[in-house]
Assembly symmetry: D2
Homo-oligomer: 144 residues x 4
Amino acid sequence: MSLSAVEVQALISSGLPMADDIGFQVESVRPGFARTRVPFNARNIRPGGTLSGPLQMALADAAMYAAILASLDKGAMAVTSNLSINFLHKPAPADLVAEAVVLRMGRRLAFCEVRLLSGEGEDEQMVAHVTGSYALPSVREKAS
Amino acid sequence: MSLSAVEVQALISSGLPMADDIGFQVESVRPGFARTRVPFNARNIRPGGTLSGPLQMALADAAMYAAILASLDKGAMAVTSNLSINFLHKPAPADLVAEAVVLRMGRRLAFCEVRLLSGEGEDEQMVAHVTGSYALPSVREKAS
Amino acid sequence: MSLSAVEVQALISSGLPMADDIGFQVESVRPGFARTRVPFNARNIRPGGTLSGPLQMALADAAMYAAILASLDKGAMAVTSNLSINFLHKPAPADLVAEAVVLRMGRRLAFCEVRLLSGEGEDEQMVAHVTGSYALPSVREKAS
Amino acid sequence: MSLSAVEVQALISSGLPMADDIGFQVESVRPGFARTRVPFNARNIRPGGTLSGPLQMALADAAMYAAILASLDKGAMAVTSNLSINFLHKPAPADLVAEAVVLRMGRRLAFCEVRLLSGEGEDEQMVAHVTGSYALPSVREKAS
């Protein structure tokens, strides 16, 4: 059975102290998809009023991890293998949302894509585009 | 005239609060190169005793930025355009060092490569390999 | 004024002999988008009956270039700066289609995303996902 | 036992018709390393007198594949999972050399880095930098 948004968030918070630091929230998940958010926090602002690149990368990584966890059985694991980010626009000093999609769930590798969105409604803008691949350790390997 | 390690660290600390949070240090710079370090801190440890991926990405980004600042005249700027990281090994719970090299310094784009190193002496191991490109806003554009 | 599919194909064929070799076709363009195709050709088949990685990369690069040309005034140029491809599935021995979208058209850099599709109708499958960035030389620079 | 340069070249030529088309040569291999070359050929030249991006990507992919084959037992396989290239300089109309290094040889994934070099002696210049990851199907999986 797959995990709920609350279960995914609990797993990520326990595994990534930084996720809690930045206020990372899992808004919704379904197999192959996750929508996550970092609420605006003055602490994350760079001079110039924008959100830092490392914050964007951390959010994207956590969003892809959430989408993978929501696609697997409970107890599964995933380890980031590659992450590539293109920074498109400076995000506004506002909430940052990440929508992650699983492009392929293989037996040993999962491939994901993330859109980082800033602003609401008509002002919503994609500020970064991210792809990532994740190694999926098999149960047999985890046991050894 | 190019910047010293102390000057580069001051610039990065003022621009990236997260750099101070993780204890980011610029150990040495010269045009086209920077060596930086994140000292071991239990706060950065993930379950399993390893350092998080976002921490590694933040260190790599700051190291490339340091190498570029050390290659340009004072007052120059650089904005991350693309960052791609391959995670090779889980880093040990120890200091993490980044050695960044500028592969090409163009007029408008700089390309860098980073090796993230964990451990000392014979135990030193490359734990991640990173490439990045940075847009270099021209003086004329900055003024406008 | 922007270019038609026929004009974009002529520009690419004259600039990339390899495009003609593989039978590259521009099916449709509009500002920010291009759909291109490589018809099935036994020459492109690898042992195992699949299309080679370099063929997929060549098609993706040409598709992004087409989408950018279709977004700019006549006479504009673009030079590939970075290309990153994730291979998801082995393509079938059949036509290969690339749908390229411009994620951001800046003054000096354009960012694109491509989906490589194999098969028709219900059998259509994304076989690779590609992102790329392209430097856009300014008219002033081209003149110098 | 690992493979010789001649054996690696024969494997690549039989698997990649495009490699023969461009005159791909394996100059030397050892576990973890391969040096390969594409001799100058007017057919590969783009307007402006430079070598095409797809040619550079094809050479880099083949060089990484050669370095991996040279690191494994005979009969092993590798499938490109991700390739990321940064184009640094336009290559001259001359031979193009690729030096590929295996950064990590895991049980299921290999990570490589390639430098594409143009020119000889003092004129030698890195024209592109490439990283790639390759899935290594296990013997058990290949048998099934």
